[in-house]
Symmetry: C2
Subunit: 126 residues, 2 copies
């Protein structure tokens, strides 16, 4: 077993985007430090990834300062939707119902989360 591809960002790219979405505009050092809380990654590795992401248009940066500041070029909403949409197609052949079913069984869900999901469904109804 190993990987399931999507058309979205790669795993490492996603990790970088998540830091930027959560922490806001950051330097490579800040992103790398954050990532290293969970997984050891060399500074130049993160730097290279972010340079590649810049080329791909996943990030934008301010390089008018010595320590370049990077920002995401796509929203969390768009990226997440794309990733989920891809899994929906590739794994569940488009069946949202089956995807939701697996999502609910993949992890013990709290009563509060269940309530929020119901509220979401109510909104969808309109």
């Amino acid at each position: 077993m190993s990987r399931t591809k999507t058309q979205g960002p790669t795993e490492k790219e996603l990790a970088i985007l998540k830091v930027l979405w959560h922490k806001g505009p950051s330097t490579v050092r800040q992103v790398n430090d954050e990532i290293n809380k969970r997984l050891e990654t060399g500074y130049t590795t993160t730097l290279k990834l972010m340079q590649i992401m810049l080329e791909k248009g996943l990030l934008v940066r301010d390089d008018s300062v010595f320590k370049h500041i990077y920002r995401p070029a796509i929203s969390a909403e768009k990226a997440e939707k794309q990733i989920v949409g891809d899994v929906l197609e590739k794994v569940f052949s488009g069946s949202s119902e089956r995807l939701v079913m697996r999502a609910l069984s993949a992890k013990q869900i709290t009563a509060q989360e269940l309530k929020k999901i119901r509220q979401l469904l109510d909104k969808m109804e309109e």
Copy 2:
């Protein structure tokens, strides 16, 4: 943009598993024909993948006959749960609610699907 990794089967591996789950035990030829309905893939490519999957324990086979018969070694339920669980962690930091939200917005959902999801939630309640 390109990929989001999981610990589950790779994209091609998943495509093969889906054929076997859906069509039942099959030869490489049958799997390859099925896959080629959607994406051109050489016979030897599919063969190699299936041999690798055999080594990984994703498939089992009957090679007592000339045309080897392959079967999935893991259930759709287990694999799907693993893939979704991985996305849940890597993309949504464990928030089922946010995953479901994106799943519902990724594709126009039918009233019928919505109803079925509600029934699922009712079952979860217990």
